[in-house]
């Protein structure tokens, strides 16, 4: 169709045959750099925080001029939208400007593991970084977890939230951990917490066998270990729109050559 929605005189108009349509789909997938059409398992993922965060980023780069996007946003948002701060921050838009690709990763841990008494309040998080296209290098990476305002017995407390990289796992004792970041927060604080895990993500992309996940724990200012939920941190049992996730910004480090099919 031309601008006036009229079929151009020089254009042969016919419906594509099934095999032609399939070939066309293959070509478009190839341009998108995909070997096949993805088949995501979206039982909960559709309404999860990670797609919503990515939609925020998409909106910020598309300038919000896509009329069809609002419908999609409504489609992907949960039925009950809770008031929460914007997912994407100024820092994200800085990373975004330099990035060729942004990817969010859902937490793969479904059941809590039994830790020793000393680490009984530790929570673990795992992300699958094995499907990063070749030549993409991580420029920035964040682990994000939502903190609700605490109005219980701990409401006047400050908490120390620590994020660790799991270095090595052992059968007979607890895993070796490396402290990535620790942050002190008031109980009343609410919003997304961002922890820089750029170096760790780079390691995981380059050597996937070292990807043993993250562990997180919370202590009171007096040093007592406590449940993440009591500190207002939202875990797997919380709303989908506040689930913890990981986001990584990539830049192409090599010339991408399309292979001959």
């Amino acid at each position: 169709l031309d601008g006036a929605n009229e079929i151009h005189a020089s254009f042969i108009h016919r419906r594509l045959r099934t095999h032609e349509k399939r070939e066309m789909q293959k070509e478009i997938l190839s341009i998108l750099g995909l070997p096949h059409r993805p088949r995501p398992h979206l039982a909960h993922g559709k309404f999860n925080s990670a797609p919503l965060f990515m939609l925020d980023l998409y909106n910020s780069i598309s300038g919000g001029d896509d009329e069809g996007l609002q419908g999609l946003l409504d489609h992907y948002k949960p039925a009950v939208v809770t008031q929460s701060p914007p997912l994407a921050t100024l820092q994200d838009s800085t990373f975004l400007n330099d990035a060729d690709m942004v990817m969010s990763f859902v937490n793969l841990v479904e059941n809590d593991r039994e830790f020793s008494a000393d680490r009984r309040h530790h929570k673990e998080f795992r992300f699958n970084l094995s499907q990063i296209p070749e030549g993409e290098a991580v420029t920035a990476s964040e682990f994000r977890i939502y903190k609700d305002c605490v109005s219980n017995a701990f409401k006047n407390e400050t908490f120390i939230i620590s994020v660790y990289q799991v270095l090595q796992e052992h059968e007979d004792r607890e895993a070796d951990l490396f402290l990535l970041d620790a942050r002190t927060l008031w109980a009343a604080e609410e919003g997304w917490l961002e922890f820089d895990i750029t170096a760790t993500s780079n390691l995981w992309v380059m050597s996937p066998q070292h990807n043993l996940g993250l562990q997180l724990n919370v202590r009171t200012s007096a040093g007592h270990s406590m449940m993440l939920r009591d500190a207002g941190l939202v875990g797997r049992d919380g709303p989908h729109s506040k689930q913890p996730f990981m986001v990584a910004f990539f830049k192409v480090s090599e010339v991408h050559v399309r292979t001959t099919r």
């Binding site: 169709l1 031309d2 601008g3 151009h8 005189a9 020089s10 254009f11 789909q25 478009i28 341009i31 998108l32 750099g33 059409r37 993805p38 088949r39 995501p40 398992h41 979206l42 993922g45 990670a50 797609p51 990515m54 939609l55 980023l57 998409y58 780069i61 598309s62 896509d66 069809g68 996007l69 999609l72 992907y76 990035a99 060729d100 690709m101 942004v102 990817m103 969010s104 990763f105 859902v106 699958n128 499907q131």
Partner: protein, 139 residues
Amino acid sequence: STAGRRRQQSRNRSTQPQEAPRVPSMADYNSSDQKTACRKHELYVSFRELGWQDWIIAPEGYAANYCDGECSFPLNAHMNATNHAIVQTLVHLMNPENVPKPCCAPTKLNAISVLYFDDNSNVILKKYKNMVVRACGCH
């Protein structure tokens, strides 16, 4: 030189004048007929119609566009004619049977961003360069 060549061709084929190739005149190259001038036409690639809305979150599709039309003399009527297009036109005028006219093709392409799920339900936001024709011209 084109005129000389034209005379030469006419002499060689004088036995079959009805089959002689018609040498284009200046009038043929006049681009006043804007209907056939090289220009951009809309072509929308709909991810929804491809049945991909289960894994592509946004956009619903994109106006990819295509270039179509004649690159006719004078080329400066086609605002995006390249120097190569001028040379191509000259050579075409000299040898219209063997050398085609300059080609109407994209001169400016824009990127689009696509947001989609992968097999692991991770979400990818990727910028794809040179996906949308913004301007057409003669090459």
